[in-house]
């Protein structure tokens, strides 16, 4: 049964091109990023080769929270593309800037070492399992993006973040092709 489920999950797909299409449809002008192995090839590499949205490479993820805040005040949409390890490292910045100041900090977070087809909360990896409970505790909205059908969640989630002025996290659960 588990083997069958695994084969099913192997056949499932997530296309980087579809995610980028939704990022552009969301009127994102800047992608602010520290490389993440889950999204490296399918997302960051093609984004780096394009001029729109503009890619801003940063040294550490909490820098990105500040940069995205400054862009938000300027009326410009941005997306922070990082790994969950970086998100965890930036909890205080996310707490202060995104949550307490109620700013539309939109984070696309690759889940390092998450098993494809396994919900994050059921992962055998501690570093994956804790992500959603932490976001719940912080009161931050999040969406799992694991299959191609999940891509349709991206634009409404980003639009809602800007409309309501609040953060959102899009959890990328497998490597986009």
């Amino acid at each position: 049964m588990q083997v069958g489920a695994s084969r099913e999950s192997d056949r499932a797909s997530l296309l980087g091109g579809s995610i980028i299409r939704e990022i552009k449809a969301s009127k994102i002008e800047f992608v602010v990023s520290v490389p993440d192995i889950t999204t490296s090839e399918g997302l960051l590499r093609p984004l780096a080769q394009a001029s729109n949205p503009r890619l801003i490479r940063i040294c550490k993820e909490d820098e990105g929270v500040g940069i995205c805040a400054g862009l938000a005040y300027s009326g410009r949409r941005s997306l922070l593309l990082i790994q969950q390890t970086g998100m965890l490292d930036s909890i205080n910045a996310i707490r202060g800037v995104a949550v307490e100041y109620a700013l539309p900090i939109c984070m696309m977070v690759g889940l390092l070492e998450k098993e494809p087809g396994v919900p994050p909360r059921q992962s055998k990896r501690y570093g994956v399992r804790i992500v959603e409970p932490i976001l719940d505790a912080m009161g931050i909205a999040y969406h799992e993006i694991e299959e191609e059908s999940d891509v349709a969640k991206i634009k409404p989630a980003i639009d809602a973040a800007y409309t309501d002025s609040r953060p959102v996290v899009l959890l990328i659960g497998r490597r986009p092709s």
Binding site: V65, A69, G70, S74, R95, G96, Y101
Partner: protein
């Protein structure tokens, strides 16, 4: 060595009404007394992030000068920002660091590396081309106008005397009304 108040007064003479200024901690209280403006951006949410907020504002509003008034302890929390600023190289970005060797807002304890760390040297090594250090007020007063009139990114280290531990009412600068006023002023400008 200079006094922070004197440096800020000298700087304020060259700051235009339309400029965005991001002062941190004790500097913020001194700055808003010298130059009250809704375009003072006071809420940084986490220590060390002022220059990152400023970089976002510089990217988002390339028509405006963005002036960050950082602290040495704050900059130590986010040294990578200097590399990012050098990489992005926004021509409207001006980064001042008040170096007094202490965490003034947190009890006046010394920063690590006090006496040893060379902030101007770190900025140069990060790739920022226009870097200055001042410890004489007269020289700073003579040169600050030209620095702000030239293209960024610019990094300036101001060697100042420590003021001792500062007890401040941070609710004055972190309240939602401050952020709302900034948002409104920036949108209108």
């Amino acid at each position: 060595m200079m006094k922070r108040d004197d440096c800020l007064k000298a700087l304020a003479r060259h700051v235009a009404e339309a400029d965005i200024v991001l002062p941190v901690y004790s500097t913020a209280f001194d700055w808003i007394a010298i130059r009250p403006s809704p375009l003072n951006y006071l809420s940084h949410g986490a220590m060390g992030l002022a220059s990152s907020h400023g970089l976002g504002l510089a990217l988002g509003r390339p028509d405006k000068r963005v002036i960050v008034l950082d602290g040495d302890g704050s900059l130590l929390m986010n040294l990578g920002t200097l590399v990012t600023i050098a990489e992005v190289a926004p021509p409207n970005f001006y980064h001042f660091v008040c170096e007094n060797g202490t965490y003034e807002a947190n009890g006046g304890h010394p920063i690590p590396g006090r006496q040893n760390v060379d902030f101007a040297g770190v900025a140069r090594a990060a790739g920022i081309r226009t870097v200055h250090e001042f410890s004489d007020l007269k020289i700073f007063e003579q040169q600050i106008g030209a620095l702000l009139a030239g293209p960024g990114p610019v990094f300036v280290c101001l060697k100042i005397v420590a003021s001792g531990p500062q007890e401040r009412d941070y609710s004055r600068i972190h309240g939602p009304q401050v952020r709302a006023a900034f948002r409104e002023a920036l949108a209108a400008d």
